[in-house]
Symmetry: C3
Subunit: 346 residues, 3 copies
């Protein structure tokens, strides 16, 4: 993405990332780029010959390469670790959206809210009575911070995020655009003629450095807290139901769902569209593949997939058979015929 006002020369970048330019150091770079880029001022990287060839055929202005590469049709930056160097370049060009300092006159801020003097609040944000915002918190437009919500220092609430009620975050969290935290948990009982809501009076607790994706829902607990521990990262459109306890440093890809009261150990990794049923216990160090459906508790670390989820190695072996299941049926039919002939032949 070209950031019109933000450019570096290749020489400047090489200096910042600790690399060596081969070619013209005055080439202007306006963005990091992929090895297929159509940006003629982009800087790509290539760890392998295949990616190098791809990048050479792209429009990239220059390529970060291992020290073993010294000649190319493009300008180069040699670096011992091109991937790490490219990460450094991404940081150079990173310009997160920002807010003006202070509280916008177009925000609606309750006088009953407790707001650190270093907080930034954008236009059309609503901060309700009883909310507490720590040092350097940023609240973007259209965010709603409801009663009894406490936001830890350094946290960012992106546009359209909602902390509805009783939501407590640690420090340095990011609540993605359109995420809804603290909605009532989904609890009803059937009284014989209708579904009656069970009051949900608990809250949502996020540890430190939790990143919540766009349009993700984390419901308040029936009692106590729905807990998302330190360092958890979720992608977009994720559901975390009431009274879930999600272990630290877990990573949930898009469209994952964790059903109510399930407790999950640290470093859980969930592929896209996977899900975990309610009231389960999942051990530390469990990963589940994309679309996996966990229907029972898991006590052993490892990788699982399938519906219902089983160990990944077994899932893969079974899936190979499942793809030719009709063939297996035919083989059984053939056997049945042969055995009938053998039996009649006796």
């Amino acid at each position: 993405m070209a950031n019109e006002s933000l450019t570096f020369t290749l020489g400047q970048i090489a200096e910042k990332i600790g690399g060596v330019v081969i070619g013209d150091p005055e080439i202007v770079i306006d963005s990091p780029a992929t090895s297929k880029t159509q940006n003629s001022r982009g800087l790509a990287f290539a760890e392998s010959d295949a990616y190098l060839r791809e990048a050479e055929q792209s429009l990239a202005a220059a390529i970060i390469v291992p020290e073993s590469v010294s000649a190319s049709s493009k300008a180069l930056i040699q670096h011992p670790n091109p991937r790490m160097a490219f990460g450094h370049v991404l940081h150079l060009f990173d310009r997160p959206i920002s807010l003006d300092a202070g509280i916008s006159p177009l925000a609606s801020v309750s006088i009953g809210a407790t707001i650190d003097t270093t907080v930034s609040i954008g236009p059309f944000a609503v901060i309700c009575d009883g909310a507490q915002l720590g040092a350097n918190v940023q609240v973007f437009p259209f965010a709603y911070i409801g009663p009894n919500c406490r936001i830890g220092s350094g946290s960012i609430v992106f546009p359209h995020a909602v902390l509805l009620q009783n939501v407590i975050t640690g420090a340095n969290c990011k609540i993605g655009p359109g995420a809804i935290l603290g909605n009532s948990g989904f609890g009803y009982y059937w009284n014989g003629s209708e579904q009656v809501p069970i009051p949900q009076v608990g809250g949502v607790y996020l540890g430190d450095k939790v990143d919540i994706g766009a349009l993700t829902a984390i419901d308040r607990a029936t009692a106590d807290f729905t807990i998302v521990q330190d360092g958890v990262k979720t992608d977009n459109l994720v559901q975390i139901a009431h009274n879930v306890n999600l272990g630290s440093h877990s990573v949930l890809a898009s469209q994952v769902g964790i059903a109510g009261s399930t407790s999950i150990g640290a470093r859980f990794v969930a592929g896209g569209q996977s899900g975990v049923s309610d009231h389960l216990e999942i051990a530390e160090g469990v990963s589940i593949g994309g679309r996996a459906a966990v229907l029972g508790s898991i006590s052993e670390p490892g990788v699982y997939s399938g519906f219902p989820a089983i160990p990944m190695s077994k899932f893969r072996r079974n899936a190979a058979v499942a793809q030719d299941l009709h063939d297996l049926l035919k083989r059984v039919r053939s056997l049945e015929k042969k055995v009938a002939e053998l039996e009649s032949g006796q």
Copy 2:
């Protein structure tokens, strides 16, 4: 969740729920709590010995127990039905988010809207020309009530909910935060060179006491109405497509999808991440398990699961075999070898 200003003594609670205190009635309770709570002013409940032991090991201040339990390391409330008593306690502590009475001066309300004098409208809500809001309706900040929308008395539109166009709700509905009702149904036809939109001119009709979860989408019909009947409850991130007719008192867990023009009978229950294809007829009294995919109409009440969905008992039996499918292949191979030997031995 501690509500700082809201506490009762154990004795006060026992009186309200009709129980008997064993221990100090002056203990201060600030919240209902789970049997694993870390809240030292929480009140848990225990129906079984296992939960009682768990609650005794928690930080709970007291526990609601059956009348058969009379001694514990914790203070107790004896009650004939601890679960029902706990539900009562949840109600005692329930403090739904609320709005100031009247119409916020920060709301944008069309003079062409018809608004009952008892309606509350928060800051930054938009009420368009032709909208009608019944008695005691509450419209929270960032809600959008579009043209030809009618909201029945006692209904609540939570922050960021959108009733885009032609949405009619019954009485006492709750439209969850970030829900989008009345977006155009997804209808296109291929004209040989591009997908051409088919105008969607119908509406969305909700019966009475319908609760819609956060970030749930219910599209307007091509013609007539997408219908969600009385008492339906949906969780978060649910999709209900155009011209669906969803039977009364149905319950849809998170991330469920119902495709277009499908008609579903009363008391449908759908587990998380399940789905129903388009243009199907589903009988009254059908339940589908988490992740089930219904690809054909269902005429018999009962519980179904799988992809495609089949009766649950059959799904379970098949799933047991599916988890060892590779083993089944090996058994067939072994049989093939043995039969070949038998045949050659003849």
Copy 3:
């Protein structure tokens, strides 16, 4: 949906769509209707005898029928192509939500934004510094147009849609309510003690005539662009991850997910709740069924389904066997017993 102010007589409609009235041309029609309608001023259509009987039993005021039908209990419009005629009627009654011309005084528009004089901006919209809005663009309430976003002429940004950063759209796009474009792609690496965010500095690029459904997320690329090509249509609650390249005129039903860096050819069609894994290449002309999970690249056009996805014909044959998998196990057990007997009989 009755639009109180919008009615035509049957005769007026017949004239507009080129049909012939059988019955009273003065009948008042207030809406197109389904063949099951309860709207006594609705106009349905029937292509077949079955739909005609259904429509005759509905409350519809009149029915559009083929020229072969000339008698009915209802008034009729004869037309050579009832479906096409009904599409025409839908257009007659189509009244998309609209905005007042110009920029609402309740909008927050940066003086650093570039806004064509023909743009309409609703109340409580935010247009940030550096945004560019082309001719006739409409921005509805609660939309957020962030820095470096460029919106092509004729495009509509519906209520609550967010273009967070570096989002470029072509002409005549529709960004659905609650859609979030340009959120940071989901990229982290594990440094041995925590997940560290990889800066995402790219953008989102939409071609012309792209329609994005409600509550759909399209993330910005790590570098370069996440690309959604001309004419793509997505339904609600769809996820398109960073660096995806989605081919022109593709159609994605609700709750579909496309994982990062996957490249998909033109005219891709994805059924509801289906998904495609990351870093795959999908050929032009591929369709996948509802709930399909594509775990590997696809080089041949065609229809696929299953988890993992395989050609649809094979999926159907296998699914038939899978539904009786326990029966297959029993047949294998029976064979094992018979073969053992045969072996022992030798």
